[in-house]
């Protein structure tokens, strides 16, 4: 299920305007292209009006695997997903369709993705949007 089709996140003078076409979105790209910066600003929006269902995990998160397995009807953001996700987590992501996922990841092996799941971040002036890789 796509819980959030669009997200707008203000990050200083920049604005992230993100459109989600799939339940699983994978943000690829080299270090320094704004992924962790986006994660940081999503952390500030978490729990606020209109963003109640956002949950964020990164390498500092405690009990990540157990907490992930308990998620239902959430928009789940996972930074450093390459090192965070094991096979059980990937199975959960693939088959628990009530959740939406935004993964910052380079390797998407064994994840159910559609061609337009793979995106990078592209800046145009002060607006940053997703750009499909394929």
């Amino acid at each position: 299920m796509i819980l959030y089709k669009n997200l707008s996140v203000r990050a200083g003078t920049k604005m992230y305007q993100l459109e989600f076409k799939n339940r699983i979105t994978i943000v690829m790209g080299d270090s320094g292209n704004g992924k962790t910066y986006l994660y940081k600003f999503l952390e500030e929006y978490r729990g606020t009006d209109g963003y109640e269902d956002i949950v964020l995990f990164n390498y500092k998160s405690d009990d990540f695997h157990k907490r992930l397995q308990g998620m239902r009807n959430k928009f789940i953001v996972i930074d450093n997903a390459d090192i965070m996700l094991d096979d059980t987590d990937k199975q959960f992501i693939n088959f628990h369709k009530e959740n939406q996922f935004l993964l910052f990841k380079r390797d998407f092996t064994n994840l159910f993705i559609n061609p337009n799941s793979l995106v990078t971040l592209k800046q145009d002036g002060n607006i940053i949007r997703f750009k499909e890789v394929l």
Partner: protein, 236 residues
């Protein structure tokens, strides 16, 4: 000259060679590059003649980072030349899976496979499975049976199971070439089985169906004329 380059060594290669035989095309060369890396290497050193046409059958598994990265490079190399065409297919098994008469011809009667196939075809755009859009519980249960379900593994596994009737199977061992091929039911005139097995057959055919007619129906149904238009136009 026309060239079909495939990464397949066994049934996939046999499939493209059957196409060549069907077209009776002496100026079509089917070559296995042995692997997706082999295709990438061959393309990187290719200097195609103007009069030649190349068709590249590269398996595209979007849920595998290694293949995805190679696909990006293969596409870039193909885009350099007007006469080098990357075939718009996920894998050759997908072509068989999409064949509209697959269930009828093979006589597959396993409900879960029939439903899973229907769901996969419902969620295929172009020739690519949009796997995350599949919600049917029977199909999802099938996916979960696989240890590492990816779209490519699902398609290949499902196709093999559906074809495991009579002599439709993939992986039929040719004792002369020692290679695995498509089962004889695909291209031999009926019936290839002895009388005892014939009486227990599951397919829809009697003994009169010609191999050539089966191949023609298959290739037309899976849009082969659109995939390789130059070769098809000149030789069909």
């Amino acid at each position: 000259m026309y060239y079909i380059w495939t990464e397949d060594r066994n049934e996939g290669l046999h499939f493209w060679n059957l196409l060549k035989d069907f077209l009776a095309c002496d100026d079509l060369i089917v070559e296995s590059k042995e692997s997706n890396q082999g295709i990438l290497f061959a393309l990187s050193t290719l200097k195609p003649k103007k009069e030649d046409v190349y068709y590249i059958a590269f398996d595209r598994a979007l849920d595998n980072i290694d293949i995805f990265n190679k696909y990006i490079k293969v596409k870039a190399l193909c885009d350099k030349f007007e006469n080098v065409h990357l075939l718009n297919i996920q894998c050759f098994e997908m072509l068989l899976l999409k064949f509209t008469k697959l269930i009828q011809w093979t006589g597959c009667n396993r409900e879960n496979l029939i439903i899973t196939r229907a769901e996969i075809l419902k969620h295929t755009k172009g020739n690519f499975l949009q796997i995350d859009d599949v919600e049917n519980s029977v199909a999802l249960a099938y996916f979960q049976r696989l240890k590492y379900p990816t779209s490519e593994r699902i398609i290949k596994s499902l196709t093999r199971e559906i074809l495991s009737n009579d002599e439709w199977t993939l992986g039929y061992k040719n004792t002369e070439t020692n290679k695995k091929e498509l089962g004889k039911c695909w291209y031999f005139s009926c019936c290839v089985m002895d009388e005892k097995r014939y009486s227990r057959r599951k397919c829809c055919f009697d003994k009169n169906k010609k191999g050539y007619d089966k191949m023609k129906e298959l290739f037309l149904d899976i849009n082969m004329p659109e995939m390789i238009p130059e070769v098809w136009k000149n030789h069909s």
